[in-house]
């Protein structure tokens, strides 16, 4: 049975049928008729952000912690373009998202009308797919397709642009039960012969290592990964986005490699004779110079996206398929093994290269703050980061044991992610303590969302590692530009404590090492969002450091710690 509904009602009905509970957004003229239908659908929670970029990153953070597609919407023109950084961030990190934008009326399209911007054109290269819906009768099917495309195969953002008069027009509504896309059939099962070859390679390897990426989390394959690692006693190294896919306190965990990864993780890959790459894409931050990456290793690469296989690194056994399914096919074929010598060798590397040691000092070190944060939260918080030094320290010094407990912008490297993504994470996981580890630079890009947090009683805690600098860029200036600190020092940062209070949040400043634990405790006790301004060492650098485009041979581990305390 069909009934007449407006395009706006159809959007809402479709979202409900896709299991959507929350939408992050900000209204405007073109999307207004959609907003005005919201009161009819109280089951759709709308969170009004202060900036559309906040809505997009929040939807992203929500998706990363729940595994469900995040939904955001905005009006035409600048509303839509403000989403762009958030969409690109999701695309680079394969995060499922559905974005709806209002558009000017059909007749006005192409006329440079008020707030008309070609958002489907703009987002063509940064979405998995996008649509401009010119007929209200197409809305239901389009939204169904959008959710299917966003969340299947290699997930990603899908944008649906709907002109205002399409939102207003009445049409018959019937939600399709199923859809068929001739050009989109993601592969689920891996090729049995390739899987047999992979199992055979694993069987003869003396120094195998698993390189676990975001795909492990996206495909929900953490248990299967652990089964494989334990069955054949294979050490596991994670990518930045693969962190939390394998428990860090597991004896087979060997850290994360790359530009700022642990030296022993990079050296493990360097010495390995077999790389089992699971749901990762050999990002340049991991490989450095591809010709010198894992020179002794054969490579098994499992990914759901065939275009990632062979893109950067030559592959001996390519397997295209959904990781969970592929591992379920492969694990029974892998024989039990021990690799005692190899695991012993990695223990030696860990002892010889204590990358996580921090120096003994009375100064307030950012690394120390993260350690204390880990202690205070028992390692059970969801940690959201921005991009830069604080991101690396958070990823290095917090121990992540629970899947989806680190939320970080990896591929795009979007500063400002830390505030709204934490908002989305808290909405998605109200049961969890969410700590946003922020830089003073990134925090100031999106801190207006503090108002959204206060308004919605979302108790996100912020640890600003405030060095008054764009720290990572400053570190590069120090390393490669003879300490010429152009445009990386903030001389007029606001008072973050007063700022927090002005927003109606709790604020506290820490300038001394002795105050760290108590400030964290006070922030956590406060019933609402809280900001801890950690005034940390200003010129602390992130180590280890493998300069861009080089290899482990060029790794800088300095300064060597005086005493090992981890």
């Amino acid at each position: 049975m069909t009934m007449q509904k407006t395009g706006g009602q159809i959007v809402c009905e479709s979202l409900i049928r896709e299991g959507v509970e929350v939408i992050f957004g900000l209204p405007g003229g073109a999307i207004l008729p959609l907003y005005q239908t919201l009161p009819e659908y109280p089951q759709l929670r709308h969170i009004l952000t202060r900036h559309e970029q906040g809505a997009a990153h929040a939807a992203d953070g929500y998706a990363r912690v729940t595994g469900k597609p995040g939904v955001c919407w905005a009006t035409s023109g600048p509303g839509a373009t403000n989403l762009v950084t958030g969409i690109a961030t999701a695309q680079m990190d394969s995060v499922p998202m559905v974005i709806i934008t209002g558009q000017v009326k059909r007749a006005a399209i192409g006329s440079d009308a008020f707030q008309e911007i070609d958002i489907t054109g703009i987002t063509l290269p940064i979405t998995k797919h996008n649509y401009l819906v010119m007929d209200p009768a197409d809305i239901a099917r389009t939204i169904k397709e959008a959710f299917y495309i966003a969340s299947s195969g290699r997930p990603g953002p899908v944008l649906v642009d709907i002109p205002r008069d399409v939102i207003e027009e009445y049409t018959d509504f019937e939600y399709p039960d199923e859809i068929s896309l001739a050009g989109y059939k993601p592969k689920v099962e891996g090729h049995p012969a390739q899987i047999r070859r992979a199992a055979k390679l694993i069987g003869v390897a003396k120094k195998p290592v698993i390189l676990a990426g975001h795909g492990v989390l996206l495909s929900g394959a953490c248990d299967e990964l652990r089964e494989l690692a334990e069955k054949a006693q294979i050490p596991v190294v994670a990518t930045l986005l693969g962190i939390s896919s394998f428990p860090e306190d597991h004896f087979l965990y060997a850290g994360w490699p790359g530009m700022h990864g642990m030296a022993y993780a990079s050296l493990t890959i360097d010495e390995a004779d077999l790389i089992i790459a699971l749901g990762m894409r050999f990002d340049d931050r991991i490989t450095g110079d591809c010709s010198k990456f894992a020179p002794n290793a054969k490579v098994i690469h499992v990914d759901v996206d065939p275009s990632e296989i062979g893109k950067s690194v030559r592959v001996d056994v390519p397997i295209v398929g959904d990781l969970k399914h592929v591992l379920r096919q492969m694990n029974p074929l892998v024989e039990d093994a021990t690799h005692v010598d190899w695991i012993q060798r990695i223990e030696e590397l860990k002892a010889e290269h204590p990358s996580l040691a921090i120096r003994e000092t009375d100064k307030l070190l950012p690394q120390y703050v993260i350690r204390e944060l880990h202690r205070a939260t028992n390692g059970e918080a969801i940690v959201v980061t921005g991009v830069g030094q604080h991101q690396m320290w958070a990823a290095q010094h917090y121990m992540f044991n629970e899947p989806r407990s680190l939320v970080s912008s990896g591929g795009a490297g979007s500063m400002g992610f830390e505030v709204p993504a934490a908002l989305g994470a808290q909405v998605g996981r109200p049961d969890k303590v969410v700590w946003s580890v922020a830089g003073d630079g990134g925090f100031q890009m999106t801190m207006s969302e503090l108002a959204t947090l206060v308004e919605n009683k979302l108790p996100v805690k912020f640890a600003i590692l405030n060095n008054g600098r764009l720290g990572m860029v400053r570190q590069w200036q120090q390393a490669f530009y003879e300490q010429s600190y152009v445009a990386t020092v903030f001389n007029g940062n606001p008072d973050f404590v007063k700022l927090a209070e002005a927003f109606g949040a709790f604020g506290i400043r820490v300038t001394d090492k002795g105050q760290v634990a108590s400030a964290i405790a006070q922030a956590m006790e406060f019933d609402g969002p809280a900001v801890v301004d950690f005034v940390v060492e200003q010129e602390e650098n992130v180590y280890p450091f493998i300069p861009s485009g080089t290899s482990v041979a060029e790794m800088i581990e300095e300064p060597k710690p005086e005493r090992v305390n981890k």
Binding site: L132, G183, S307
Partner: protein, 175 residues
């Protein structure tokens, strides 16, 4: 690289859905991934609401593999075939406007006849030659007409098809 220092040319065909923006999606992908298109031809296919594109791309095996994978990754692209290694028919149509006068016209016509090309327009000062063939045939004719003064050239880009009925042909239609 070939021995003459140029990248090899490969022929790829794609069956795509006739949707607004499909050409922008495809050409945008080539641009942002840095792939070079030597020619691109688009037209209706035998399947309703689907077009077939023929690309001639320049690049080594790895590049071409990436091109086909990235083409296939586009939702509106239904089927991609790299037919370079196969026994194929390649054709391109070109219109060439040549300067002619009563003295040179017959010479031009002779050349045109040798190439089994045609004359589609004659005016006092110029003649339009229509030629169909593979790229090298069109190039050769162009070169031979050059001394007369080539004013304008328009080429459709190559279209290509397998010879005989290929084993995969039926499944291609089904997908």
């Amino acid at each position: 690289m070939n021995t003459n220092g140029t990248l090899p040319r490969r022929t790829i065909t794609a069956l795509v859905q006739d949707k607004p923006g499909v050409l922008a999606r495809v050409s945008g992908m080539f641009r942002r991934r840095g792939f070079n298109i030597a020619s691109l031809a688009v037209g209706q296919s035998e399947v309703p609401d689907m077009s077939r594109m023929t690309f001639v791309v320049e690049g080594d095996d790895r590049t071409v593999e990436q091109v086909t994978k990235h083409l296939h990754k586009l939702i509106d692209v239904v089927k991609v075939s790299d037919i370079s290694e196969q026994n194929i028919v390649e054709r391109e149509l070109a219109l060439i406007r040549v300067k002619t006068n009563p003295q040179t016209r017959s010479e031009v016509m002779q050349i045109v006849n040798i190439f089994r090309a045609g004359i589609v327009d004659v005016s006092g000062e110029s003649t339009i030659v229509e030629v169909t063939g593979n790229v090298s045939k069109v190039n050769s004719l162009h070169k031979l007409l050059e001394p007369f003064g080539v004013v304008e050239v328009m080429r459709t880009g190559t279209i290509a098809m397998n010879r005989g009925l290929q084993p995969g042909e039926k499944s291609e239609r089904k997908r």
